[in-house]
Subunit: 457 residues, 4 copies
């Protein structure tokens, strides 16, 4: 085809065309060479969810073209309110005064979120009064020893270049009435709560108190979780950055294991209840042999169990690499029974346990001396600055939060669904946890990448 | 709330509950403090798409909860076939022989894609015969001086740690009949074509010839574009890595500009027709003052145009930072009229032009000596290894391509839509180009991040 | 001064001039504004080596211009033999057969050393027979289960891009006679032993046995120590890379500590007997408050001791950052009494100890809740690829080792002294250890950088 | 040897022993297996400085053990004054007021130097008045539009984390009398001039004027050169960081070249008169085929010249990689005749020239289509933050500069020689340039690493 003939049509036009001419039958029909009649060898894999739902069915399984729908056309379809600027807003920019608070553990991108909230408020909505509360909810009570700081574009100019949060953070709740009193005293009428599970529960509690007192204060949550375990957020900010660092640590363990006789690389990564970091880092690294996460129990001492498999891997390759989420293997070692300031269960240290236990098991049962190279990068994966993608995500997240607050929305957080930003009621996430699901791409890709026995799960 | 009461429900359960009890009205209702009655200050921005579609309308604009639909339930909805393993496959693994070819410019992740195709074929589908064709379509003709190489898990073990493609690549077409003859002679029955626009057109031409000859060879495209400009692929592989590198170069230019009197940082980034890299790098960097892309013409010499605005920025901050896509400003400098081996228009070099033109303009018109720091990182952004996210994406892309090929699909590429992998007919993308749209989040976020005049567009 | 007048003279010329005209009095005389008569405020610092040697004396302390001397002119000066190619060599390249072995823990640059030995032998000395022994001395005994591999430029082409050693490594000695027998059986006439303390002792033992048997086998040591603790090597390979990684981990701990109330960042770094990594990383980071190394005992519980000082730092800044070598504080917690395979003492874990001990001390004695953020990067700092400087150093080290071996030198290692490569007899290092010295720049810069009390030492 | 027997002696002790007992004959004697009688194959290399000085002579060439000498013992040896704190100082800390100015192009580590000058003055010498002049000498004149800023530990706390200089910089001289007047008016009695060649000439001119007026102002230079071309500084700050970035760019070009048929990677690096960056990056990368620097003219079109050799390399490997300093090949393309603000000659762009010239030559003379991948990273290599080693070096450099200034030294810069910091009179460097020497390790290692024909030089 000559270059001159190549007519370029842009997507917008084509969609218009589509909408008009092709509104009936499913589009994008795919050619087949012939009928598929041979049973897939994947079926040989015992237990890898070989129920019907594992396989895709051509006649049935489709991905919708337009996930942004007009509610009027589809009154019965479950859907989220879209995030974005509204034509009419609730708060008068001249009177508006915003507060920002960051809670819980660090996460790459916190400073990006703070920065973009400030810039969006100042530059686009012309809101000039912005307070940053220090050290989480601990700084939100009236007589906190940590006094809030005024924020503006100069203060935040370069903060995104560094990890952490300029506001500081802390765990744990404070008295709800106290915090509301402080907001009232300081004339705050919109509060941005950047935090996880507990923080968002706290935000919801603030709303309940605000409503009880009949106040006009908007509370908007911005979901923060290094573990990527908040529902209705496909991929939370900072997560991809944490995966990048974790992937590199796995490469270090791979090198260590492969350079020592009978080497076993063992890396413990964050993830108490959800194995997303470990799963994604495993997939990104490409050289992990065993990926162990809280969601998936695995056999350890028995024939065909972890240690037996590791022995086989060492036999084949000379070494093995294990990625271990901190919450994995709790069925083996159990929890300590204690809880931390946020009310999270304290776990026994599965990394320290396995490091010695596997050595002992190989010596006692397999009469083999192995060399375990144990790495626990801990905070290193979460205190770095956000990577590009997370920075972009943080900036958008912050802007949509400002749009929502200015429009008078409350008791919600910004979600991310099918590539779109959404509004999610805080109540909707109260008793939900996002987890790695057995039949999800997250997990089947892990199994494909590692070659670990699918029949374990 | 005490810890004991916290009942954890996982997402699967809640969805089931949802489906049963709440099938009617739109869910996830969002609370409002009160009616929003104040006109948004965003309306003051001239021209920033202030037509109705810019603002989100609560009553209307929703994001669908489940983008994976059962076609039978929604026969009228436009949708894609989902990618994934099929229960029945077309090719007998024992007889199957696969070919892989990489074409066009480099892109981070090419080796990851090659590696995962090989591993998926070998380890899961038990296909043992895999050929890698060298240097793009030039290696696909029968008597090419570049002979194909056999691929297996040992060859590909560590290739993902390095940039580029172990197969080599080249631009330009070859005679279709010749290529098909070579596939037949070598008993290839599935060909994976990793490449962009031109490559996928070539793949489609191969299918036409294959069909004409009544052959049973599957041709599956894997879309590769550093510019992220292939339709129906939300974010193409390698793109996020390229953005990361570009972001860092912008930071260098920021530093240079801010350390010299009247400094102007000017960075030319890849993007001949689509400004995605420049837009994303701008958003990730957070310090860019002007982001110029091919899709958006801008005034340059006139009052309120680029140079006039840069003058104001220098006045305010002492320096300015401009991100410039290589295809931007063509309305000012024009194309050279030549084309390259892939048939792409050769552009005049807008970076070199602006570097001198802006200096001259400031001297002549504004009587000001400015110090331009021009950086053109060129290939540096595309020859690095893929980052974690791109690696994961590449691995999945490759696996889904293998699933499709084994199932006997052909004349299609793997797409990515609403977070799901899809099958896209090659024909569907023939005359389409993905571009940065004026009212898209890509662009409004650029405008928000830079503060450049929205009225330019 | 006009540009035309600027006469450029190159260094070589000036040196000639110097040698001829100015051979007498000390050169490079420095101007002084006037007589220095005020006592330096540094003298207020208690105990920072305020003996005479701390201060530089103008009349006395000089740095020699030419450290490369002609031995004949200075028969009495202590000096090293210079490394480099000799005009006449001992081994006939056609008959020569080289062996390479890497021992002990990993270190960035091992693959660079292996690669450059191979390239230098092959490309410059035309030696074609090169064996790589696997897994340290364990692969050097006749019937090792780890058989040696043939090395050439193709095998080593890209190995420098990855961390570790392609040969593998292990700790521990083997029977000397056995190893020599293997060398003889395999016709090896030069052996390159890349390793630390123990490895070089082993190399010396090999030479003793070789001499006893009257064999013509050259044994050349290449000093490898992540801890930078081998004498007569100013800065060992891989060390700067390890410092870079360690510096970044310290930054993570700084971020963590500064983002939590009463935050204490505690980082444990490698360094059992020598605190170079911790000292250099402290200086590179610039934000460390306390740097604790094995060479310097410190008070911990007493008034003015570590915990008391940390309390003051938290009072001032809100948080504190401690860099801790793994061998530091042994006067407090003691060793376990066990030894590892290389005969090194096993230490109790000072990191785990201090992490809990400091929390308890603050609670019990200061009634203060602190938040310790403990990071132990362990192997991460040594399994990465070498940085540029280390790569250059490794390549030179390897080439000089080949020069020495070809010239028939033996029982020596390559040293690095005053910026020159040297030959160092293995015997000379037998009972020596390089340590951080109290009055060295290493340590005074640490004290200057941290502000920790010099009177501790 | 059992662990208990291992007596550890530290270096200090052994030196004492040495000094007493072994003061006569050269130490560190090296064993030889036998007499070396075979002519080295290196002699086959035409022209690689095979004069006597290339080879090391065992009887003659030694590296002195102690480069720090007592001037009284060696009155005839050329030597530098050692840097370091003096017991007596000249300026009363209470009256002292320091100025800092950064001039010329950026260099990694500028902020580290500024930071450490400030911290050293404040924390150790108790000097409280410190001014930072803006934008080089342009900010040093009395009525500069760029007013100086007050510096203290709070201002500089985190500046070392970012590239560039917080003071800004500029090229070019200012009227000397004006600048001295400004120093006097502002009561500055010590000025730290951080800059290159021209800056240090300017500093010397300041001293001449200061002396003429009989003022008591100390002027201390801190040598800054990204090109590493200032004499008496073995390795200037920021240089290793620039090499690291350059090495990575070379790897990008290697990947590009190796992935395209007849690929030629061509990278232009900084280095107008001195080829250190290009040489070091070549050695660090390990894959460069041709390294072209200003100091070494090379044949280009003739048989055995560059293009002919590149053809052979492409024939062997399929591609070639060329590292090109911006000042290389001026014998071929010549200078433009213009000069910049610092009086440096403006060069024609050898990168742009060769990029097209080589393509044309291959087409016209060799009838071969090659694919040149040209990369010019320009400012990217110098605007990044310093790496660890450079940071440490900067901090020490700054501290020694403060020591010198406080002691009343003037008209000098801090040098670095044989691993020691020294005082170097500014006059001593006036007409000297450091260059890559043909027989230096810098160059012989380049030749060894690339395999380029030594007979070119």
């Amino acid at each position: 085809m000559s270059n001159e003939e190549k007519k370029e049509t842009n997507l917008e036009e084509i969609e218009v065309k589509t909408a008009k001419e092709e509104s009936k039958a499913p589009d994008f029909a795919i050619k087949k060479i012939g009928d598929a009649t041979i049973q897939s060898p994947l079926s040989d894999l015992k237990n890898l969810d070989l129920k019907d739902s594992f396989y895709v069915n051509d006649e049935r399984d489709r991905v919708i073209f337009d996930s942004k729908v007009n509610a009027k056309d589809f009154p019965d379809i479950k859907s989220f309110e879209r995030a974005g600027p509204r034509n009419k807003i609730f708060f008068d920019p001249d009177d508006a005064k915003a507060g920002i608070v960051t809670c819980g553990g660090l996460c790459p991108g916190l400073n990006d979120v703070i920065r973009s909230i400030v810039l969006e408020l100042e530059q686009w909505y012309k809101v000039r009064k912005i307070l940053g509360f220090r050290y989480g909810y601990a700084g939100l009570i009236p007589n906190s020893k940590y006094q809030p700081v005024a924020l503006n574009h100069e203060v935040v100019e370069s903060i995104h270049l560094r990890g952490g949060t300029i506001l500081g953070s802390s765990r744990g709740d404070q008295a709800v009435k106290e915090m509301v009193k402080n907001l009232v005293d300081r004339n705050i009428n919109m509060l941005f709560c950047i935090g996880g599970d507990g923080t968002l529960r706290g935000a919801h509690a603030l709303v309940e108190e605000i409503e009880k007192q009949g106040l006009e204060i908007s509370v908007i949550g911005i979901p923060k979780t290094i573990d990527n375990d908040i529902p209705f957020v496909e991929c939370s900010f900072g997560f991809q950055t944490a995966v990048e660092v974790s992937k590199n640590v796995l490469e270090c363990a791979k090198i260590e294991a492969s350079c020592t006789p009978n080497g076993v690389g063992l890396v413990k990564l964050m993830g108490r209840d959800a194995g997303f970091i470990t799963s994604y880092a495993t997939r990104a690294n490409g050289n992990v042999d065993y990926c162990l996460i809280p969601e998936m129990k695995f056999p350890i001492y028995e024939k065909g169990g972890l240690y037996d498999c590791v022995r086989r891997t060492i036999g084949d390759k000379g070494h093995a690499l294990i990625a271990l989420a901190e919450g994995a293997g709790q069925h083996i070692i159990g929890t300590s029974g204690e809880t931390d300031a946020s009310g999270n269960k304290k776990f026994n240290d599965v990394g320290q346990f396995m490091r010695y236990d596997i050595t002992k098991h190989f010596k006692d049962k397999f009469d083999t001396e192995i060399n375990v190279r144990y790495i626990s990068p801990s905070y290193v994966i979460r205190s770095v600055p956000a990577n590009s993608q997370d920075k972009i995500f943080c900036a958008d997240l912050a802007r949509y939060a400002v749009d929502a607050a200015m429009a008078g929305k409350t008791d919600m957080m910004i979600g991310y669904w099918h590539g779109e930003f959404t509004h999610v009621p805080l109540e909707a996430i109260q008793n939900l946890k996002k987890r790695v699901e057995r039949s999800s791409r997250e997990w089947t890709s892990v199994v494909a990448s590692t070659g670990q026995p699918p029949e374990w799960w």
